[in-house]
């Protein structure tokens, strides 16, 4: 593997279109957590409370404590992205995000939206909540806390060199498809 490309948020279209499935990356800057409730809200035409143009959505429901003191992230890793597949194309189109961080990959509609709008999907290591927590330097705001609850709320996080791997690029390539195809062929051999 090549050394990771360091990406700074917000991202411009050229940078994102030059990323390829398989590239290791790190992300630094302001990112936002988003789960099922947020995606459905935006896909249904609801308002996004922040400007996400060039931004990053992190499929994550953190363990987080606070106030009365400041918010403190106790654990934060990616959640399964596939659940957002019905809403993701609408969210990409409506918000102008350039990067989705999650786990497990996404389906053909999201791949098409990544190609059309210039967006990539970055896989973070599932379950590595302590490893990733250490890359979060601050919690600066929260939206939809009362409406969605803490796990589903939209948390504004500042991250420093959060590592991941581009697994769906803006040319329609998906690492998951290659792995899945190979495993299905091997399965046929094992069941022959």
């Amino acid at each position: 593997m090549k050394p990771p490309r360091d990406l700074q948020v917000p991202l411009d279209e050229t940078t994102v279109r030059n990323l390829r499935a398989g590239d290791a990356v790190t992300l630094s800057g302001r990112i936002y957590t988003a789960r099922d409730r947020f995606h459905r809200h935006v896909a249904d035409g609801g308002r996004c409370p922040v400007n996400l143009r060039g931004g990053v959505l992190f499929h994550c429901g953190p363990v987080i404590l606070g106030p009365p003191n400041r918010w403190r992230v106790l654990a934060a890793g990616p959640t399964t992205s596939m659940r957002e597949e019905p809403y993701m194309p609408a969210v990409i189109a409506a918000t102008g995000i350039r990067v989705i961080i999650g786990k497990g990959g996404m389906g053909p509609d999201t791949r098409a939206a990544c190609r059309r709008h210039g967006c990539v999907y970055v896989q973070a290591t599932g379950g590595a909540a302590q490893f990733l927590r250490r890359r979060i330097s601050a919690v600066t705001a929260v939206f939809f806390l009362d409406a969605f609850g803490p796990a589903e709320a939209m948390w504004e996080l500042t991250v420093e060199t959060m590592p991941g791997q581009v697994t769906i690029d803006s040319r329609g390539n998906s690492l998951y498809d290659a792995v899945a195809d190979r495993s299905r062929r091997r399965l046929q051999e094992l069941l022959a």
């Binding site: 654990a75 890793g77 792995v179």
Partner: protein
């Protein structure tokens, strides 16, 4: 000395059990992850993913912080003396869950299915789950499994015969179901995974028994030689599928396979497959006749 499992002691013990399960991977799982890391080639995504998982486990342990932010379905399994009052046990465990949620050892991880609202303290119908069995003992053995939603969503059940899989009502049919389940799941349930399997039963008892297999250490094998052989074969064959950690390719798709068989009706032949992510959070504790902590039941 009279048996007196006081509420305060039980609550304290349950809280310690939650802390241990949420923050510390059992030694057998740690060893399996380290061995997997050694097997994968240098500079591969699989090896770097496993390195992250190992470091994550170190940090969760030293910081006493949750391994994974999805602190999962809480399933308690207790063996208790006949005179031990189950309502008191349930109440003490619920109180421990509330306390663990308050301090961030558990995520607010419970949703009211009808309203969609988050349940602030994680105590609601179905959470936590407690299963009790009595035995002629004075102590209490209490186990906890924490299983996240990502891997639970990939669990599945087959009814044999299955013509699509060419799977009949025999162990070769079971083998076909298990390999198909692994390929369908890909990396979605945070591979490398552990399979808990039950052959037989009705649908409910099949799933129940499949999940219980996660209480077994990864290092043991089924008591029946034919099931032990199937466990070894599925582990070996699944790791040639190339799915790998997080579904990004590699030699490590499964860390373990645990299979049990129970009786069935003549009409039914279910194969129930519970899929567990690499973060197999299992802890067990023994309490003395006063409900005080005596020792951990696994390293």
């Amino acid at each position: 000395m009279p048996i007196d499992h006081t509420y305060a002691n039980l609550r304290q013990a349950a809280l310690e059990l939650i802390r241990r399960a949420a923050t510390r991977l059992p030694d057998d799982v740690r060893q399996a992850l380290r061995a997997a890391h050694r097997r994968e080639p240098a500079n591969s995504p699989a090896r770097s993913t496993l390195a992250i998982l190992n470091r994550n486990a170190d940090w969760a342990d030293t910081d006493a912080a949750p391994l994974c932010q999805d602190t999962g379905t809480l399933s308690f399994y207790g063996r208790i003396p006949p005179q031990c009052p189950i309502p008191r046990l349930n109440k003490a465990i619920a109180a421990a869950v509330r306390a663990a949620t308050r301090v961030g050892m558990l995520r607010q991880n419970t949703i009211d299915t009808l309203t969609g609202q988050s349940v602030a303290d994680n105590v609601a119908p179905g959470s936590p789950q407690c299963r009790w069995e009595t035995a002629a003992i004075k102590h209490i053995d209490l186990w906890l499994l924490m299983k996240g939603g990502g891997c639970e969503n990939t669990s599945t059940q087959f009814s044999l015969p299955d013509t699509g899989l060419n799977a009949g009502r025999d162990l070769d049919g079971v083998r076909r179901c298990l390999l198909q389940a692994v390929v369908t799941a890909q990396g979605h349930g945070c591979a490398p995974s552990i399979l808990g399997v039950c052959i037989g039963g009705d649908r409910q008892y099949g799933y129940e028994t499949a999940k219980r297999q996660f209480l077994r250490p990864l290092t043991d094998q089924a008591a029946q030689p034919e099931l032990a052989a199937l466990e070894r074969r599925i582990l070996r064959d699944a790791n040639t599928l190339g799915i790998g950690p997080m579904g990004l390719g590699g030699k490590t798709t499964l860390l373990g396979v645990k299979i049990a068989a129970v009786s069935r009706l003549p009409a039914s032949y279910f194969v129930s497959v519970a899929t567990m992510c690499w973060a197999l959070r299992r802890a067990g504790i023994r309490l003395n006749e006063h409900g005080q902590i005596e020792r951990w039941l696994q390293p």
